[in-house]
Symmetry: C2
């Protein structure tokens, strides 16, 4: 609050309230020096920024990557939760082990086996408060300020926020339609190491990358691991969407054949329920202890009730069949979005054609900055995430992310229809 | 694994398994250089260390500060959870806002009002994954490596672990029977600031300190805040037990009259259910934004289902009456422990007489190290936490913490009866 507004307000306030305001202003000034250096690096996520806006009635949100929960058996899940609390409440509502329950860690190994990781040991699984927390812990354990994390360009905004909170230098590696380009990855590593930089991770979302929907091709996966191993760089593999491939089998994760070089992160947020905040890391055996202790220092233990509810779901429900349902559902929505884009979008745009996941990445002509278009789009009744959010640089971006996961096909079509004139106008103004 | 054990194992293993072991050993060696500097500071908590042991049948655990959940209406809570999931599952199982639900933040202000904080604004409440996470976020936002946090001596081991993970210099301030001694606090601050140290927080558990059970007297509370304000040090007030005062009204928190100088942390772990992992921070308005963004970067959002269950509990149940029940229950247990200590303990010991909370702090004669006694005690069928866990130094400690919260009076008596000869023997061996 500036002194001017303070003075203006003063006329309407009793002396006591005025004193309180002055005291707070003084404290704010005094405490400014107390922030850590990293605090300045902690930014608002653009996705979270529009979270409240996206709830406005009448608006079509193509912004948030929320899963579509309507197809879950809510009544039955309620009964399951009731039984857990009534019959095992003394466990479910009590503190638990810091690594998570053995039952759920064992079941998580089955979930990973469905993707092609066949040798996971429950002892090396650490359950976390969503996979966001698994990223936070990994950065905490491995990154000093100034260390480098390589990321796909574009990459998940939540990961960028986590990394930057540790004052890490985030370096983007270009992708083409098949994901990270190995030669460019090698070149990037060579340049950075020649500068004396300590590169700790390659952070990758290999299947249906958020935000681009791009998939790292099967051919490039082992090559990527080999390049990193050669340079002594760990891989942080984030795979929340892996099982949500529309057609065919899930692609084999980078972790599968490389147990010593990959910290693999999974989540129940996309295949079951994000509101439970249950994710996990599968950590190489030789890194497990330090990873686990750091996780424990952050939250003591993951919520017991939530773990037991996920366990019951994996044990008593046909979770594989639910995934088949989701795959069909998201494929239908993706197709609806692709069709709407083809129908409504002006000349000069291109977009990705994802094999799975939640997102399509739209490229506008060079010179169009998608960020200011968000305001116009909200006025037109539709919301998206501007591309700049998904890059560590502060440069304007001519990209934008559209999520097809959370809204039914007819709303997707309506949302794209509303967006089209906003983009057309921006292109015309070039 | 040393080369010797590797060679010994080799004779019994197929070549493929041996290769895998060698590969892992090589990776372990290569990756040793990748850990962050702070990783070396992240240690196992002694409390968590004995968590598994404490579950052994037949053992009396006076170790963990688990609340006694048997008095909760589990059947009814199960029905409440069922209704939330069946009727509001699309919200309860979905992502939520990063700060927590407005309903619960408003209710949390009522809970704090029951303790004497009358001016809390829901806008300044940030809901976290237990108050452990609230500590982690506070340290992240304010502490650079080498900064100082002042703590009571002794203090909560979980907080020590969190602080040390940020490479903070933790400096203990002596307590007497009335808590932190103001003159010694002033002297400590003067010494450290004269050395050029940046002191960021005083971390205090003013009511029924964990592990000592000591309470900062009403007379000293404002003095403590004034000393810190004068030195531009924030107070991190951790008050999970405040409402569990056996007799009389809860003591007024330091935050009550000092909205600009105190980050107040509360928790439902002791007054409701730790397995839900719902805690909170009430942050001065001028610090709210940076605190909130850092919380969001760690976990995106607290679990929605858990927040809604706590909200329903605060709305539809007589939570105040449940606290009255808890106060009576823990008072009875504390009395049982005090009586058993008087009955069984050898000469030369002293212990605190807490006004509330979960813990009694026992002092053995000088020269007795309580740590090695844990092993003997386990053999005798009882378990406690050695005093060294609650201090930032690595010095041996002649103290130990006994928790009376989780076991019924007859087991408390039996546990103390089993512990007595272990301590008697240690004293005799001096």
């Amino acid at each position: 609050m500036t002194h001017e507004t303070l003075d203006t307000a003063a006329g309407h306030l009793p002396a006591e309230a005025l004193e309180a305001i002055e005291r707070a202003a003084t404290a704010a000034h005094r405490h400014e020096t107390l922030f850590s250096e990293r605090a300045a690096n902690i930014k608002q996520s653009a996705v979270r920024d529009v979270f409240d806006i996206s709830l406005r009635p009448g608006l079509v949100s193509l912004a948030g990557g929320s899963p579509y929960l309507q197809s879950l058996p809510l009544d039955r899940l309620g009964q399951t939760a009731a039984a857990i609390i009534a019959e095992e409440g003394l466990t479910a509502l009590q503190y638990g082990g810091g690594q998570g329950t053995e039952e759920l860690r064992t079941q998580i190994c089955e979930v990973m086996a469905a993707e092609g990781i066949l040798d996971a040991d429950p002892a090396n699984v650490v359950i976390t408060a969503g996979s966001q927390s698994a990223q936070d812990v990994a950065t905490k354990v491995f990154c000093n300020p100034g260390d480098v994390i390589l990321v796909e360009d574009p990459t998940y905004v939540g990961a960028l926020n986590t990394f930057e909170a540790y004052q890490v230098q985030v370096e983007p590696v270009p992708m083409d339609g098949d994901g990270i380009v190995p030669e460019l990855l090698e070149a990037k590593i060579a340049t950075l190491q020649a500068e004396g930089k300590a590169i700790k991770f390659l952070y990758t979302i290999p299947s249906f990358n958020n935000p681009s929907g791009i998939t790292l091709s099967a051919e490039r996966r082992q090559r990527t691991v080999d390049i990193c191993r050669e340079a002594n760089i760990l891989i942080l593999e984030d795979n929340p969407y892996g099982l949500l491939r529309f057609d065919g089998e899930p692609l084999t994760p980078l972790r599968a054949g490389n147990p010593d070089d990959v910290i693999y992160m999974g989540s129940f947020s996309k295949i079951f329920a994000p509101g439970l905040r249950i994710g996990w890391a599968l950590v190489p055996a030789h890194l497990q202890r330090r990873y686990y202790l750091a996780a424990e220092a952050v939250t003591l233990c993951p919520p017991t009730l939530n773990q037991m509810l996920v366990s019951a779901y994996l044990r008593d429900y046909d979770w594989r069949d639910q995934i088949v349902t989701y795959r069909g559902l998201y494929k239908e929505r993706c197709d609806a979005m692709l069709a709407a884009l083809a129908e409504f979008m002006p000349e000069g745009l291109s977009w990705t054609n994802p094999e799975g996941g939640f997102f399509i990445w739209v490229t506008l002509p060079e010179g169009v900055d998608s960020y200011p278009l968000l305001r116009t789009a909200i006025d037109a009744g539709v919301i998206f995430i501007p591309g700049a959010a998904f890059s560590p640089s502060d440069e304007p971006s001519n990209k934008l992310r559209l999520a097809f996961s959370a809204v039914p096909p007819e709303s997707i079509r309506e949302g794209v229809r509303r967006l089209a004139p906003v983009l057309r106008e921006a292109i015309a103004a070039l």
